[in-house]
């Protein structure tokens, strides 16, 4: 089971802050494809990957990063701290 987290407008578009999913996706990109195929709200949230960032187990990662063994994958827009 993989914990998938959403923040900021990604969270608002998906409609929930986190969910546990069963997946066989090998990379983040595969996971995104899988999520996109679910429902319109996911397709909308993931429509422009250039506007998104991803973290695997709380470290920034890339779209082609492998997610095997990961406990947690988070999607969010570019950060605006400070």
């Amino acid at each position: 089971m993989l914990e998938v987290l959403y923040f900021a407008w990604v969270r608002e578009r998906i409609g929930e802050p986190r969910e546990r999913i069963e997946t066989t996706a090998a990379t983040v990109a595969d996971l995104v494809d899988e999520l996109r195929g679910r429902e319109g709200r996911y397709a909308l949230a993931f429509s422009d990957l250039a506007a998104l960032r991803v973290a695997i187990d709380q470290e920034l990662a890339d779209w082609d990063s492998p997610i095997e063994g990961a406990r947690e994958v988070a999607f969010f827009p570019p950060m605006t701290g400070g």
Binding site: Q58, E72, F76, P77, P78, G81, G82
Partner: protein
């Protein structure tokens, strides 16, 4: 080195109590970020990624301490609901020399801006909108 992520307000003076006291510090720089009332903003909501935030900031602060041989380094960042005039966050650096203290503080700010998992939403007369990251903020990282 001290990093704190909190909802509560902070007090700059209290945070600086004993700051850098252990080194032979000649220069201390602080930066405080404050909510602006620009464009009729009435409040700001800051969301963060609890499991990741403190760790991400610690990583940035550790990098600053080693690159500039800082005697001390402090980051406090708030989340939750803030009003215009409220303090959002602060950094402080202590070093032997002023150039190091200034550079390290600017480095911390540049990285916190784009690499610490916070997202700001502004509420005003025209509704609400997420603050967008600007290209300049990402570009600023390349100077370090």
């Amino acid at each position: 080195m001290r990093v704190r992520v909190q909802c509560e307000p902070f007090d700059l003076a209290a945070e600086l109590e004993g700051f850098g006291a252990e080194g032979d510090v000649g220069a201390q720089v602080t930066f405080t970020g404050i909510v602006r009332a620009t464009g009729g903003l009435t409040r700001m909501e800051i969301e963060h990624y609890p499991g990741m935030t403190a760790r991400a900031i610690e990583k940035i602060a550790t990098e600053a301490v080693s690159r500039w041989a800082l005697d001390d380094c402090l980051v406090v960042h708030r989340y939750g609901t803030l009003a215009p005039g409220d303090q959002i966050m602060m950094v402080a650096t202590a070093s032997r020399h002023r150039a190091a203290a200034f550079e390290a503080a600017e480095f911390l700010m540049d990285y916190l801006k784009s690499r610490a998992p916070f997202w700001k939403k502004e509420y005003g007369a025209d509704g609400a909108a997420w603050v967008e990251a600007r290209d300049e903020d990402e570009d600023a990282l390349s100077r370090w």
